[in-house]
């Protein structure tokens, strides 16, 4: 049975394609901010409870249960304020979902920030937008201004006694600032380098205060869940993977797109329904990166069966990540693509800890050499061994994300390496 195509009223991001009015007028016409007052009068504990039941999982890549994350936040003690920080530093290659939210439906995020701040006991929220999204950040700032004007931000929102201020901050162009603690450092005006954990942000975050960091899509989906109810939300997707999700489909497909679809949709169906299929047909498929460049790739056989959700992809040793599907067909030099991705990680390593600083460049250079047929087959083993010496040895997960695609390539395309090396 094919996965249903979402009707407009079932979509969280009704203007994801930008066809309609992005402003507060258009958003309200689409039902936005309706029922906000009721949510702001709801006890935060009840909201967190609903979120826990919804099984909403972080849309930024790690898939951590949002309700659980929010429950880690202490209630404000009057000494230190709580903060909600929105991670809009969308930098994962292949991913462009948050960008369309910011420019075509920014009020979904603004409403999410209001609800999030209320739930977490924060009176201040920050939205950290990647520096390259200059136009998008301008649009978002306009949306924030509109919300202030409409009394939806500021003091005593909708006469509920809830105070929320939201500030927009533009990053300076570093991928690592998408890592939540590096983001906090950058927000504090320091060099964007991940912090040691523990302590975690919920205990010691922005300016040393309890902080929750969430992805744009996650925050924007919260009001919809609360308004439409758990029945609506759990209608989509499998157990523990419920809801709708934006998929960014790019690469060797006929119609690259951003699309909101139900979770757990089969990958093949996703590509054929929304992206008009692989260029040259499904049989021409070489490999698919399922969730942004740091997730290991799938071979055509796996791609034909897998369901697009957190658990489905984890079973195959990869992950949903940001749900950025990058399709490579047989005309694509997969080794060249993966080497380029490895080069990206070399460029973006923050340089703080040893294995990543010294290792990612080494891996990139070795892989470049091997992809061009220079080197020995023993060096293929060495390459794999190096990735294992980097993975899991660093302060943050960047190095893991930098190594997985290399490991994935070696897993599925070792014979191609060997062919080039013996040629």
């Amino acid at each position: 049975m094919p996965t249903p195509i979402l009707k407009p009223e079932d979509k969280v991001f009704k203007n994801l394609d930008g066809a309609d009015d992005w402003s507060i007028k258009g958003y309200k016409k689409r039902g936005g901010y309706k029922g906000l007052k009721k949510i702001l009068k709801t006890d935060p504990a009840d909201i967190i409870d609903t979120l826990k039941k919804s099984a909403l999982r972080g849309r930024g890549g790690a898939g951590f249960p949002t309700g659980l994350k929010w429950s880690f936040m202490p209630r404000p003690d009057g000494k230190r304020p709580n903060y909600l920080v929105c991670n809009a530093d969308e930098g994962e290659p292949g991913t462009c979902k948050d960008r369309d939210i910011l420019r075509f439906d920014p009020h979904t995020l603004v409403e999410g920030m209001i609800v999030g701040c209320h739930t977490l006991g924060a009176e201040t929220g920050y939205i950290y937008v990647r520096g390259e999204y200059y136009d998008e950040s301008s649009r978002l700032q306009q949306a924030l201004d509109e919300a202030y004007e409409a009394g939806l931000l500021g003091k005593n929102i909708e006469s509920t006694g809830v105070n929320v201020d939201v500030y927009l901050h533009l990053g300076a162009g570093a991928y690592i600032c998408g890592e939540e603690t590096a983001l906090l450092e950058s927000l504090e005006g320091k060099k964007g380098q991940p912090r040691l954990k523990p302590p975690f942000p919920a205990g010691y975050g922005l300016y040393g205060c309890p902080t929750t960091v969430n992805n744009v899509e996650t925050i924007a989906q919260v009001p919809a869940i609360l308004k439409n109810g758990l029945d609506w939300w759990t209608r989509w997707g499998r157990e523990n993977n419920h809801g709708t999700k934006i998929f960014s489909i790019s690469g060797a497909v006929n119609k690259p797109c951003n699309v909101e679809a139900p979770m757990s949709i089969p990958l093949k169906e996703l590509i054929e329904t929304y992206a008009d299929g692989v260029i040259g047909g499904w049989d021409n498929l070489a490999a698919i990166i399922p969730g942004g460049s740091s997730t290991p790739m799938l071979n055509p056989e796996q791609a034909g069966e897998v369901l697009m959700d957190f658990d489905g992809l984890r079973e195959l040793g990869t992950g949903l990540g940001t749900a950025a599907v990058v399709v490579m067909n047989k005309e694509v030099d997969v080794l060249a693509v993966m080497t380029r991705i490895s080069g990206f990680y070399k460029h973006e390593s923050c340089g703080q800890c040893t294995p990543c600083r010294e290792g990612v460049g080494w891996v990139y250079r070795l892989m470049s050499r091997l992809a061009e047929g220079e080197g020995s087959k023993e060096e293929l083993d060495q390459l794999f061994n190096l990735t294992k010496r980097i993975e899991g040895r660093t302060i943050c997960a960047f190095a893991d994300g930098a190594m997985w695609p290399v490991q994935g390539t070696l897993k599925h395309f070792r014979d191609e390496f060997e062919r080039r090396l013996s040629a």
């Binding site: 570093a174 040691l196 523990p198 340089g351 800890c353 294995p355 010294e358 060096e379 010496r389 899991g392």
Partner: protein, 696 residues
């Protein structure tokens, strides 16, 4: 008392306090954990990843330096996972590290070398091009070879956290990350040299020491630094009778493990322009001679002189034995009361120790919560005390008020202006500073010794003392009244009573008497604060010292003495703590240890009824000193002053502004003045403060 938790390291249970790290637990279990970035006295960076260990149940190895230990946690430092993690990190560290150990000054005392041998692999798999990094010019003290840098950021953290100069940082990211000052210029810190010790590789090395010795050739002698009055513990590293460098020794009570740059880099001043043989004036020229001839010249003059017409002044940098021997020689052998160590003209009241030493031990400054500085720049006058003050300001537990010339002390101060008359107002319980001090649990009042040189010096001390009393800084369990001396020899000289008695002349009187031709014999022992021309005009001037200075040049007889590295001696620091420094090398050529000179001279010149000074060995000498002052019976200990303070009557405070007393930090004594390195540092410092002159 914090609760203890039990951690199992390699199967052995150890107890550590709640909040300890995995590394603490491993240390407790006597398991060595290799590390590069971790340092006890710096914040935890966790970036080198060398200290990774396996913790049972954790999905990946954890960085033991920051990971909190938990009750029942099982740590394995010998497992394959741990070994493999260390090997991995080592491989990455060495990938881009140059293999230039044979020409690297760090060789032999390099953490990277040592740890690579213990935990690394015996071969490299790195077949790519190695990275090279441009070197940085960060001044005359530190040589950089940045290709060797392993980015542990110890230097950055030291500069930012301890030294308080945010001039060091990492630019670039990933493998292009570089440590440097961003704008290429010398570090503006009086503690920069400590980065050399902190650097675990040969990226930052000692520039003046470069290529002169290997660590395994050096002998280490425990010494006490005498460039300031803190009494920092140092190691004098020497080879074949020559001091090659000076490094710090750990001493939690004083210098932790840091030393000021003046202590570390002034050793070249020990080998420049030294007096190597006695000199006697023949006409206009000083000519070299032997000891008996020099003594005979002195005896001839003394025989004709009356005791009232004999005088002596003591310099700033003389050891306790030497001050004692000099004093005994003057007062006992020559029976003159004209002797003084206060060549700065200060009115220091030496009747009670509390009036010329620090009441608060340096270490205990960390418990201070409100501090009032009076005419004192601790950063330049007592860098080690300043570090403690910086610590308490930085962690938010203390406020520092500065009554004196405004200065950058590396931490925030509340400036009270430079009018010392404000002290009267401060004694008012309604004044905000009084309230802050009164409210504080451990208030501290610090008077700089420089302010004692003023006409109203005694009044300043009186007011400061009264204030300290009023705000409860003087209790049985807390002594918050401090007078910080700047010179290493001053406390001992005052302890030993190198002062005129009622009938004697003070240093100022001696100076004017000499210039008016009223002195027959003047002994000038060491360099003090008096300009040389103020010590001319005596019938015969005898200079005893280490360097051929202007004072030596204008003397008639010059006797060569030993420098601080050339004798075993006691030094009393600003706290009044008596510490022993050991002889590392011999005095140059014919120079002698100072107290022996006075002992020998006394035998030559003493009248028969008095006889030579009553000590034939250093042990006998020390017995006499201990009898004179109890602190000298307790070497290394602090003997708290117990006597109640009796304040002398003092004049009124005057309105002259408090001036900074340290003009040239890098050239405060005869050794640093003869050091080319220190001279260069001072030149750079002057250029920073007077940039307009440079432009002109």
């Amino acid at each position: 008392m914090t609760e203890k938790i039990t951690v199992i390291v390699n199967g052995h249970e150890v107890q550590v306090p709640q909040g300890a790290t995995v590394m603490d637990a491993c240390t407790k279990a006597e398991q060595e954990i290799p590390r590069f970035c971790y340092h006890e006295r710096l914040s935890v960076a966790g970036n080198c990843r060398m200290c990774l260990v396996e913790v049972e149940g954790a999905p990946k190895p954890v960085a033991s330096c920051h990971f909190p230990a938990a009750d029942g946690m099982k740590v394995n430092t010998e497992s394959e996972t741990t070994k493999e993690a260390r090997k991995g990190t080592m491989e990455f560290l060495l990938a881009n590290h140059p293999l230039d150990c044979p020409i690297c000054d760090q060789g032999g005392e390099c953490d990277l070398q040592d740890i690579a041998v213990s935990y690394g692999s015996d071969r490299s798999r790195f077949n790519e091009m190695k990275r090279s990094v441009d070197d940085r010019d960060i001044g005359p003290l530190i040589k950089t070879v940045m290709t060797r840098c392993i980015h542990c950021t110890r230097c950055v953290r030291f500069a930012t956290e301890v030294a308080g100069v945010e001039e060091f940082g990492a630019t670039g990211r990933g493998e292009n990350m570089e440590i440097g000052t961003y704008v290429e210029r010398a570090l503006e810190s009086e503690l920069a040299g400590n980065m050399i010790d902190l650097c675990p590789v040969g990226a930052l090395t000692n520039k003046p020491y470069a290529y002169t010795a290997r660590p395994w050739e050096l002998q280490h002698t425990n010494g006490i630094d005498v460039m300031d009055a803190c009494g920092s513990h140092i190691s004098i590293d020497h080879r074949a009778g020559q001091v090659m460098r000076v490094t710090p020794r750990e001493c939690n009570a004083i210098n932790e493990e840091w030393i000021a740059d003046t202590a570390r880099f002034s050793w070249d001043g020990l080998a420049t322009n030294r007096l190597t043989a006695p000199l006697v004036r023949k006409g206009k020229k000083l000519t070299e001679t032997d000891w008996p001839t020099a003594f005979k010249a002195i005896k001839t003059a003394l025989d004709k002189a009356k005791p009232q017409k004999i005088a002596g002044v003591l310099g700033n940098q003389q050891a306790a034995e030497d001050a004692f021997a000099f004093n005994a020689f003057m007062q006992h052998t020559l029976a003159t009361a004209n002797v003084d160590c206060r060549t700065d003209g200060s009115a220091t009241d030496a009747s009670q120790r509390a009036l010329y030493t620090m009441g608060t031990p340096i270490e205990q400054l960390e418990q201070a919560d409100a501090v009032l500085l009076i005419g004192c720049n601790p950063r330049l006058e007592a860098p080690m005390a300043n570090l403690r003050l910086r610590k308490v300001v930085r962690n938010g537990s203390a406020t520092v008020f500065n009554l004196g010339a405004p200065a950058d002390l590396t931490y925030a101060t509340t400036e009270l202006g430079d009018n010392v008359q404000l002290l009267e107002a401060l004694n008012d319980p309604k004044h905000k500073v009084f309230k802050a001090l009164k409210k504080a649990e451990n208030p501290v009042v610090i008077v700089g010794s420089g302010s004692l040189q003023r006409d109203d010096g005694a009044a300043i001390v009186n007011h400061a003392y009264k204030l300290a009393e009023a705000v409860d800084a003087l209790r049985l369990d807390w002594n918050g009244f401090n007078i910080i001396q700047q010179h290493a020899g001053r406390v001992a000289a005052l302890d030993m009573g190198v002062l005129p008695d009622k009938d004697g002349m003070s240093a100022a009187d001696i100076s004017s008497a000499a210039q008016q031709g009223q002195l027959d014999v003047l002994f000038v022992y060491g360099e003090g604060d008096m300009p040389p021309q103020q010590l001319t005009g005596a019938g015969l001037t005898v200079y005893i010292g280490t360097h051929r200075t202007t004072l030596a040049e204008q003397a008639d007889v010059v006797l060569p003495a030993a420098s601080y590295t050339e004798k075993t001696a006691l030094w009393a620091n600003a706290e009044g703590r008596v510490q022993e420094s050991f002889k590392a090398v011999n005095p140059p050529l014919h120079a002698k240890e100072d107290w022996k000179i006075f002992r020998a001279l006394s035998a030559e010149v003493a009248p028969a009824d008095i006889g030579p000074l009553p000590f034939d060995s250093q042990a006998q000498l020390r017995e006499l000193m201990a009898a004179r002052h109890p602190a000298y019976a307790a070497i290394g200990q602090l003997v708290p002053a117990t006597e109640a303070i009796k304040l002398s009557r003092a004049s009124k405070l005057n309105s002259a502004p408090l001036q900074p007393t340290v003009q040239e930090f890098y050239r405060q004594n005869v050794i640093t003045q003869h050091s080319a390195v220190m001279t260069e540092c001072q030149k750079l410092a002057n250029e920073r403060t007077q940039p307009q002159q440079k432009a002109a």
